[in-house]
């Protein structure tokens, strides 16, 4: 059970972050829940042993969650994504890249830097994948509720 504790921290981190962006009440908690769900799937997919792929899976799950919740709560998808994707953003990667740069370890600097870029790419691809698919479904079923 202990390995799932970060999901709780992810949720607790998303709540004040969403509050700064002026989300209120039910919306705030449901957006933040997306962050926890994403990290839950990240840990769940850990047998893959490839964290870029894990980030991709988690992002896809969050995006699907955001698309569904946006239609239920009638709020823009972007808002949900902004808050729920925060735990996925490679803050640690940016920091360690900088640290290797500062201490002059060039090999690790390049490696960590590329890895961080890879994670950012995985996030972008996950969002792209789901939004494009939803657009496609919308076109097929002529869904006018894009707003």
């Amino acid at each position: 059970m202990k390995e799932f504790l970060p999901c709780v921290w992810a949720f607790l981190a998303c709540v004040p972050f969403g509050a700064v962006m002026n989300l209120h009440g039910k919306n705030l908690y449901l957006c933040s829940l997306g962050g926890a769900i994403g990290w839950f799937f990240y840990i769940l997919s850990s047998p893959i042993n490839n964290d870029i792929l894990q980030y991709f899976i988690a992002t896809v799950v969050i995006s699907i969650y955001a698309e569904i919740m946006a239609r239920i709560l009638k709020i823009p998808v972007t808002g949900l994504l902004l808050v729920a994707l925060l735990p996925m953003v490679p803050g640690g990667g940016i920091y360690y890249t900088m640290e290797y740069c500062v201490i002059g370890n060039d090999a690790m600097f390049i490696e960590t830097g590329l890895h961080t870029l890879g994670i950012a790419g995985a996030l972008a691809m996950g969002i792209l994948f789901v939004s494009s698919f939803v657009r496609l479904l919308g076109k097929i079923y002529n869904d006018k509720s894009k707003f």
Binding site: P6, W9, A10, L12, A13, V15, P16, F17, G18, A19, V20, M21, N22, L23, H24, I75, P76, V77, T78, G79, L81, L82, L85, L86, P87, M88, V89, G91, G92, I94, Y95, Y96, T97, M98, E99, C101, V102, A120, L123, A124, I127, L128, S131, S132, R135, K146, F147
Partner: protein, 254 residues
């Protein structure tokens, strides 16, 4: 109908959405819908994150153009939501311009959280992310101060209209400095976990998310602008924290 007023008002609605973090697609589509609701089918809108250009052609064949620059942008999802509602209502009920103007002012003056609350929120984000990245409780408590310092620095720097690059450098420098000093005083702290937790407040998650969505919608210019923005923010964070690490290592020998 007063076309000048229509263009100005629609642009105001668009600006409200764009300045508070809506996607380009939403801004352009909302404005076009408002034009259509008032029977103008010749409206053209071009928006990028820093600017909106609008042109409509009146039935007499006279074009009316308006360009509006947006010097500052922030993220206020509450205003986006309310602006969106307003658009839908305009398209459905076609109210007169005075009513729209009044509602627009109401949305602009909707309450935001006080500075004190925001400082506390930044501290809580830092606290949770330090634990999230594997720090222990004493790291998290220390990180709260770094998070609060970030908000205080950002708030004071933004008063002078400083550019975002410098603001991020100084904010992340301040966070790094506090973390390294704390680690110097108490050797059992993990300065890396503290700094990462605090820096999550500044990390360009917003830019990464919206740049991809803008790209998919075909707004390549907007996508590239947001992509550059996220690169700049990430670089600024790294530079600021890097300065703090080097300086404290040189002076204190942490």
């Amino acid at each position: 109908m007063n076309y000048d007023e229509l263009v100005t008002l629609t642009t105001d609605v668009g600006c409200l959405l764009l300045a508070n973090g809506a996607e380009i697609y939403r801004v352009e589509e909302s404005m076009l819908r408002i034009f259509r609701a008032y029977g103008v089918y010749t409206g053209e809108v071009f928006a990028i994150p820093t600017c909106i250009n609008v042109t409509v052609v009146t039935p007499q064949g006279k074009p009316i153009t308006l360009i509006r620059r947006l010097p500052t942008r922030s993220t206020d999802l509450d205003k986006v939501e309310k602006g969106n509602d307003l658009c839908r209502r305009i398209c459905r009920d076609k109210p007169d311009f005075k009513t729209i103007r009044r509602e627009l002012e109401e949305i602009k003056h909707r309450p935001v959280y006080s500075l004190g609350f925001q400082i506390l929120a930044f501290a809580m984000v830092s606290f949770s992310f330090t634990l999230f990245y594997g720090g222990d409780f004493s790291d998290a408590i220390c990180s709260m101060f770094c998070g609060a310092a970030i908000k205080i620095v950002c708030y004071n720097m933004n008063k002078f209209d400083t550019n975002a690059f410098i603001v991020n450098i100084i904010a992340s420098f301040a966070a790094g400095l506090i973390a390294m000093t704390a680690a110097y005083i108490n050797m059992s702290l993990n300065p890396d976990k503290i700094i990462i937790g605090a820096l999550m407040n500044l990390v360009p998650g917003i830019a990464i998310t919206s740049f991809m969505r803008d790209m998919i919608d075909g707004d390549l210019m907007a996508g590239i602008i947001r992509f550059m923005e996220s690169l700049l923010v990430a670089t600024a964070i790294a530079i600021g924290a890097g300065f703090a690490l080097t300086a404290t290592r040189a002076v204190l020998g942490v």
